[in-house]
Symmetry: D2
Subunit: 309 residues, 4 copies
């Protein structure tokens, strides 16, 4: 198992649409198709955001929809690890609010958001789920002109980090801590003093979100040096930073996340026919280092995941 | 002017109270007293958050109160640069809101917060103001147990970064970009493509907020390497990270921010009698490198600040 | 030409024998065969140490032998850039010495060594030659037990750095500065103040020699940050560090040196059938980043090499 | 003892003369005077190179001379740790050599040099001695013009590293590994696989020698990250890099070496009246971090030194 690299395919995300790349899956069947291809190509895990194929493919946190995707994949490729995102919640499910008490209002919004984001995790109890560590901007800007296209705030308060972490570990779902900005690791360090997390700790360094840190090799090394003992790390990056970032991770003994959620293209700029084509690139990178893809079973061992029956 | 180090004293902040250190200034006179002592000790600039001495010393964005502090300092020590924070706004000034439209509600809150934070800057038109680059948690946790004491989100959307930057530069107020987490610099890079900022660019690396990055020498170096040309940098850090961080900055040719906002104590753990005592430590650090404190005039030259008549 | 990666194949070295890998070339014809295969595989340059096929394949600085190798390659593949090493000199060409004056004795030895190492460069006037920047141990130790197998000192005094640099640039041969240890770059900086070197400057970071620095991503980044403007960098590494090191270089926009001189094996541990098989790996690495191999013509443009007629 | 900083004063070195700074000690009495002042100022250890006051103050490895210096210090301030250099050997003690066999000749020279360098260590059996890890240039260049003033090679082969290490540990003398260039640490790692060294391991990062690496904060951090467990580190640097380097060490929890061997001046450019004045600066640096100088007893505990009776 030594030297094995865990390849995770992030099949869809929230922001990549069929308009960006027709291979982005919306329906449960499309997810299952993609997942199967990725497993064959070398992935041990898929990371999923459910999409509402009726409502234009927008991401959704409706439990039935998430479960349908999850079940479709599990039925097709039962061995594959399916990691469910905890980033998506209906922004404003109910009202009216007590409008004169602003602090309470905001706390209510955060709480409702938290509940919405946890709902699918609670219903599915997946083997793994993402756990976001940074409150941050999560926006879209024109990278050339700096013009703001969508301006958005992604809230992951310490309270959420605490509750998400506790619930996940309690239900036997291993959290993968998403580090979008250096300080996300320090947030994790602070909250983990409560003894929330089981070893090994699993981290994902995310690069290039408009609101997070950009990929830089020295920052990457700085993060790796700062990791606690008994940690695994993987990485993913938005757009053109994807390929240098996964290489950096792989050559330092880390793992790889790749997929249409992060980047729609292949290294040569061509549209990827699916996340599986990017998995093939990841396998190629690993092979240039003499590393082989971990099977789902090996990945579970490395990440401390117990297989659900 | 070569090698001169600009020492900024952050006199009060929002979170340090007289209960923490009795020398924290609340009244305009107390601010003026502290500012004068800091100038004498070697500071070229003070950074201020106004406090409401009636309402228990809580920070305030009420224009009259901010202006009273500003004027009191300017009257006492007219040469000193006074940097006004743009981080403080009344969280919920008015209501009721349209409660069924949640996205609009949040956008309204952000906009109101932005207006409140800009109000004093617009009224005073100071020579310099802080410009916060990260949306982030800004919380208080027990550093030993990880227990959350206050959980808070600090919103600095790209829209705010854009508007604050434009307004400040337009009124001749030099923004100092506060980098609380690595990605704050990347936010600045993205938005600056609009051509908002004049050279030289001024950055402040902030360390140790519960929600931002912790001070690490390699991360510090990573930030310095990533700076654009024609940049100045200074640094400040919360609590015990303050002294190593300012040393790191000073030995790399950067500047120093220090003061009771960030840390109430001296290096030996004793309570500081005022921010001026920390300025004395900063001067000592600089002297061990053969660097002398910049006068306000020299600081203006370095930072590209035009003195207001 | 943007993004093109220059792949250099180091065909033989001094320390890799047919006993280590039968594909190591000794005879001029073997060199030409290998060079041709490497060009076809994607290399723009070969780096050569001549070997004495009669004397057991030991490296040699005898001009006729070096020239024979050089000419054989040039005849076969005239377009390929042939970089000649300047590291090999007969250790002790003549005697007896004045033995009672030790300092003079050592200086004489160094001078004789320098002359021997420059002899082929002077005779051939190649387009490029290596220029070693570190005096260092250049030994062989058992990596598991620390037992010394061969203990050797590789002298590259400032005087040699100066003379090699001057002569090379004067004859239109572009030096590639070999950085075996961080301080080699600082040696280059010091001596370059004499104005010896033309731009662009070309550096090769060498890793893993028993006597030099080991490959570490943060040290690599530290070197890249420290480079002067208008620099190109490539990298090579001994043994198993070869593949991570070339990846690190390629993902940071640098170039790649590879070949049997540095490592006899492929990433999966199998014996390489020739340096060309490693060139194929380098091409694969580059392709995973969307980079294409530079042709010799493009490489000359990037490195500031004027083609010899 | 937590947080205590060990300050070592390097009283003389080999290359700093009374012409450079009249306070450089030559005679045993001068050494004792300086040592006493340094202890009073806060030093726990002195590092010594004996000088021949008759022969113009040149450094000497003549046992009687070294022992005279050592004894004079020990008599005056018995508690102070005295670290003896192992870098100085008579370059060419005897001849004639077998001149026709060059490799043997060089090996003989290295061996004679090793013997000369160990002689004083063997005679004195000090509590600590320096152990140089890099073969390197050790030259003098005009830093502005790059003109070579003295060109010199400092040989520290793996064989020497092995023999010095073994002998020192065997006689109860703790070696301090001098890292003049990044790869020196890797040399230490390689040879230490023989199991030569006792814990804790003690390292000194040396910066700015013309032949070694220049001080850079990211390289410094890279070294600290690469240290084996149970290591202590200190640092020293030549000339103007001295003060930033010791600050870097102190703020990262390391120790400080300072003294006229490395730099003749104070931070403000004035001539130091003695190494003790630099010790005072080191104490000031430490105090700005809330660290106090270790007493010799505390230093012994930290460094694993057993006091000689």
């Amino acid at each position: 198992m030594e030297g094995k690299v865990i390849i995770t395919a992030a099949l869809s995300g929230s922001a990549t649409f069929k308009a960006n790349n027709p291979a982005v899956p919306y329906s449960p069947k499309e997810f299952a198709d993609e997942a199967e291809k990725c497993l064959k190509a070398g992935a041990a895990m898929v990371h999923i955001h459910a999409r509402d194929e009726v409502l234009g493919g927008f991401h959704t946190s409706v439990v039935e929809k998430v479960k349908a995707v999850y079940d479709a994949i599990k039925q097709r490729v039962p061995d594959l690890i399916v990691q469910v995102t905890s980033s998506v919640g209906t922004p404003c499910p109910v009202g009216p609010f007590e409008t004169t008490d602003c602090v309470n209002l905001i706390n209510n919004l955060i709480k409702l958001n938290m509940e919405a984001r946890l709902r699918s995790i609670r219903a599915i109890k997946p083997e793994s789920a993402s756990l976001n560590t940074n409150t941050m901007n999560f926006s879209v800007l024109d990278r050339k002109t700096g013009v703001i296209v969508i301006d958005n705030v992604f809230v992951n308060s310490f309270g959420m980090l605490q509750e998400f972490g506790k619930e996940m570990e309690a239900m036997g779902c291993r959290p993968e801590a998403e580090i979008y900005d250096m300080g996300g690791l320090d947030n994790w360090f602070l909250i983990s003093k409560q003894g929330i997390f089981r070893k090994p700790y699993n981290f994902n360094f995310v690069w290039g979100v408009a609101g997070g840190h950009k990929f830089r090799p020295d920052t990457f090394a700085s993060l790796v040096h700062a990791l606690p003992e008994d940690s695994n790390f993987t990485t993913c990056a938005v757009g053109t930073e994807q390929y240098p970032a996964i290489m950096q991770s792989c050559l330092m003994g880390g793992h790889i996340r790749i997929g249409l959620e992060d980047n729609t293209r292949l290294p040569n700029g061509e549209m990827a026919k699916g996340s599986y084509e990017q998995v093939e690139v990841a396998v190629k990178v690993a092979s240039c280092l003499g590393r082989e893809p971990a099977t789902p079973t090996e990945a579970r061992k490395i990440l401390g995941i117990q297989k659900k029956k």
